[in-house]
């Protein structure tokens, strides 16, 4: 078995391997001789740095999981300022954290190649929104490269470093879930080893190059940025990923960017239109290759624009058409030919194309009717916490404590991480809208309905303060967050709570890993991205330094003590932090540190009360009026023995 870490650093140009899009991006950076790579985990982009962290010790470059995306961006930018090639990667929402530095760094740019690799998530498979980060490149006036498949992801990332150095600007590589997490055959290129001794030169080609306020100041540096655009526009006319296929007499045209081009090619094939269409495949949605677009617009009467996300290409093409061919009919998201939200696929593009050429797609109506019938058989599979997850204990304790001392309508503010599954609910449940003018309490009748609010990293601990400052009195105010989220985004909010005298319970569910994105280490883990030991930071120590006076630490496997600590915190008249710490069960199993107990279920003692079911562990089953334990899923954590009121579940002596 060839270890993946050895494969990914193999200098074997021409070798074809199966790589995930994220791994292909990492390989592109390896081939370009990246010197510093940084990231904060976020699906669908996490495997970019995971791969680079495997390669870093072998090739001698630096790879780190930074505390958040903003810091990651700055670390990479700092390296690029010294002329070293750097990459920072993040998920769509991660880019929001970096915008301050992003929008300012471009005023003067970089010296070493600087690549910003972003994994967008159309359809919000793993995200709280569908934002299209290509607009950030447009906004920041830098080029955006958008691959159509894993092969292009590798080639483009590698080229992005070269382009960045030529333009002295960061370059954004925008991927999407279906490339990040899709694997494909990728051909390796050569691994470059650029000799890059980090250098610093305050006035390199521009006065006060790295100090935006340094004379001539921001406006002149903005002018410099604008001055780069003609060169970018010229380059994108000839790069290999922008390609116009214009043969014979096409009846219509397709302009397709990134993954959209892959779907469009399939759709053309599906409809047998190969020789009837002019095809402009785009690899740079911004800036557009205006000459190529112009040639397309002048050759056909109508054009369908295909892209993942918002109509960035379409809007620009619309602007160009005004000068180049005002008569051309443009179709896309703006005209309703393509759906405005969600992700696209081959069928959606084929449907739009069929309409354009006035053709009916073959449809098997009777079969569709049968499908509608069968759909009732397809039982949903709701997302859950894992069997034996410490968060199950934390939520159970929180629920019991709130029932006792939480007041009429407590508010539980959620956050991003595994524990946010406490707010997903069960698939297919219907909710009745309320138009009440008073606070309303809803029963938590499934274990996954605990969280009342949930938006972004670190959002909950801020929201809870707003509820307090607004004077909310109808119930307790609670925020929850995980260890990685605490370090990522909660510290300023904790300081704010202390400084502005907010009160409420902040429950930190510390499982020592950034678990949801695939178990990356963080400051609470004690190891780095490259598995080196490092100082372990404690949430309690940080909270204490922030001025928090009520801090208690509990083990969520111990439900009684955890409930008691939460109760006390809820009754306290201070901003109170309870740290529920227990290592992630999956991680403990992987490290063979988890010793499951042998559980015994006594069917005679079970009264069928279903209290254990509301605990929410997937290891607990309920059949024919009685509960039970799934022998494959149950891993013997023993928490449910504390939940069962009749003693039907116990640990074997």
């Amino acid at each position: 078995m060839t270890e993946f870490a050895d494969l990914i650093v193999e200098d074997a140009p021409g070798k074809r391997v199966l790589l995930m899009g994220n791994e292909a991006i990492a390989r592109g950076a390896i081939e370009a001789g990246v010197g510093v790579a940084t990231s904060y985990p976020g699906t669908p982009a996490s495997e970019i740095l995971e791969t680079l962290a495997l390669a870093a010790p072998k090739l001698g470059f630096h790879a780190e999981w930074s505390v958040n995306e903003k810091v990651a961006f700055e670390v990479a930018a700092g390296a690029a300022i010294t002329g070293v090639r750097a990459l920072t990667s993040m998920k769509n929402a991660g880019l929001n954290w970096v915008m301050d530095m992003f929008m300012t760094l471009v005023y003067g740019g970089v010296r070493g190649g600087f690549v910003i690799a972003v994994g967008d998530d159309p359809d919000a498979h793993y995200s709280s929104n569908e934002q299209d980060t290509r607009f950030a490149a447009f906004y920041g006036e830098i080029p955006c490269l958008e691959p159509a498949d894993p092969q292009e992801a590798r080639e483009m990332t590698r080229y992005a470093f070269e382009l960045s150095e030529r333009l002295e600007l960061p370059v954004l590589v925008r991927s999407v879930t279906r490339i990040c997490h899709a694997s494909g055959d990728v051909e390796f290129g050569k691994i470059e080893k650029p000799e890059r001794k980090p250098v610093f030169d305050r006035h390199w080609k521009l006065p006060w190059r790295w100090n935006v306020y340094g004379p001539p100041g921001p406006v002149e540096k903005h002018r410099w940025l604008h001055g780069q655009m003609p060169q970018i526009k010229k380059l994108v006319e000839t790069i290999p990923w922008n390609k116009l296929e214009l043969r014979g007499k096409p009846i219509f045209g397709i302009i397709a960017s990134g993954l959209g081009a892959s779907y469009a090619r399939e759709a053309v094939k599906m409809l047998g239109l190969e020789n009837k269409v002019a095809f402009l495949k785009l690899g740079t949605p911004t800036p557009l290759p205006e000459q190529l677009v112009g040639r397309m617009l002048k050759s056909v009467k109508s054009v369908l624009v295909v892209e993942e996300g918002e109509p960035l290409v379409e809007l620009q093409v619309r602007g160009l058409a005004k000068d180049m061919n005002p008569d051309v009919k443009l179709l896309g998201k703006l005209t309703g030919s393509m759906p405005p939200v969600g992700e696209i696929n081959t069928n959606i593009v084929a449907h739009a194309l069929a309409k354009l050429v006035k053709r009916k797609l073959p449809a098997d109506q009777p079969r569709e009717l049968i499908k509608d019938e069968i759909k009732n058989l397809v039982t949903p599979r709701s997302s859950t916490l894992c069997a034996g997850c410490p968060h199950l204990g934390s939520y159970w304790a929180l629920k019991l404590a709130l029932r006792k001392v939480g007041g009429k309508v407590p508010i539980v503010n959620g956050d991003i991480g595994c524990y946010e599954q406490g707010g997903y609910g069960i698939v297919g449940k219907e909710y009745k809208l309320s138009f009440s003018t008073e606070s309303v309490r809803y029963p938590i009748d499934s274990p996954y309905e605990t969280l009342d609010t949930n938006y972004i990293m670190g959002g909950g601990v801020g929201l809870m303060q707003g509820q307090f400052q607004a004077g909310y009195k109808d119930g307790a105010i609670v925020g929850v967050a995980g260890d990685s989220t605490f370090f990522h985004a909660c510290i300023p909010a904790v300081i704010n709570a202390v400084y502005n005298k907010a009160k409420g319970l902040f429950l930190v569910m510390d499982n020592e890993w950034t678990a949801m994105t695939g178990h990356q280490p963080n400051p609470a883990t004690g190891i780095t991205a490259t598995k080196e030991e490092t100082k372990l930071l404690c949430v309690e120590d940080v909270a204490k330094a922030c001025g928090v006076e009520f801090i208690q630490t509990v083990d969520p496997f111990d439900l009684k003590t955890t409930t008691a600590a939460i109760e006390e915190a809820l009754k306290s008249d201070k901003f109170a932090i309870v740290v529920a710490r227990h290592v992630c069960t999956l991680q403990a199993q992987r490290q063979k540190k988890f010793v499951g107990k042998r559980m015994i279920f006594d069917r005679d003692k079970c009264t069928g009360c279903k209290i254990c079911v509301t605990f929410g562990c997937p290891g607990i089953i309920f059949k024919e009026g009685k509960a039970g334990l799934d022998p494959i899923l149950c891993n013997g954590c023993g928490m449910c023995t504390e939940v069962c009121p009749t003693g039907a579940i116990r640990v074997e002596e």
Binding site: H125, Y126, H181, S183, V378, I621
Partner: protein, 202 residues
């Protein structure tokens, strides 16, 4: 199925997180590349959580671009779990396609808490047949136990898939790729698992 001259296969490997469907789909993808074809494996997986629905779209052949199989476009759905087989067959199985499924169910929490019912294997078979599909069910979980490691169930299913003769990849290459892509300590069990699956179908 397309003509032999341009072998192209659209295959979905469906299962539940933790069953090894992603590993299985990568084995098929790697084997296809080794035989000179292009490959796309589109995956849907999110949290590191166990127990979520996972489906890999495996596309091998020459002229393929998209990472996802079109509606009604899969010649085969290989299901490591019956309900996940049905879920994907309804959306993606082509008329005349094959659902090759393990018989061992992994109950969703929705069923465990009494909010939904799990369809019987007969109901699943009936449904897919109504759609013009063929269903072959094998007890891959038991075969994996027989092979000496219940976690080789995914490879039992790969063996069964090879046994159908519908893969445009040689059995030799597949076995070689299995050998290279499982933990060294489990190679023998995995190869036994492959054989057991293969023989059950052949």
């Amino acid at each position: 199925m397309k003509k032999e001259k341009t072998p192209e296969l659209n295959l979905i490997i469906a299962g539940v997180g933790g069953q090894g469907s992603i590993r299985a789909s990568h084995i098929v993808g790697i084997a296809a590349i080794q035989e000179g074809m292009r490959a796309r494996v589109g995956e849907t997986f999110g949290a590191a959580m166990r127990g979520g629905a996972v489906a890999s779209h495996v596309r091998i052949g020459k002229g393929i671009f998209a990472p996802l199989i079109a509606k009604d476009g899969a010649e085969i759905v290989l299901a490591l779990e019956p309900l996940e087989g049905l879920r994907n067959a309804v959306k993606f199985l082509a008329k005349g396609g094959l659902l090759l499924t393990n018989t061992h169910a992994w109950m969703p929490v929705d069923v465990n808490i009494g909010r939904a019912e799990y369809p019987t294997l007969e109901a699943i078979k009936g449904a897919v047949e109504k759609l013009g599909g063929e269903v072959v069910a094998i007890d891959a979980t038991s075969l994996a136990q027989q092979a000496g490691n219940v976690r080789t169930m995914n490879v039992v299913m790969l063996g069964a898939l090879a046994g159908t003769g519908k893969l445009p990849i040689s059995v030799k290459t597949l076995k070689e790729v299995v050998r290279e892509n499982v933990p060294p300590k489990t190679i023998e069990a995995n190869l036994r698992a492959f054989e057991l699956g293969f023989k059950t179908i052949q």
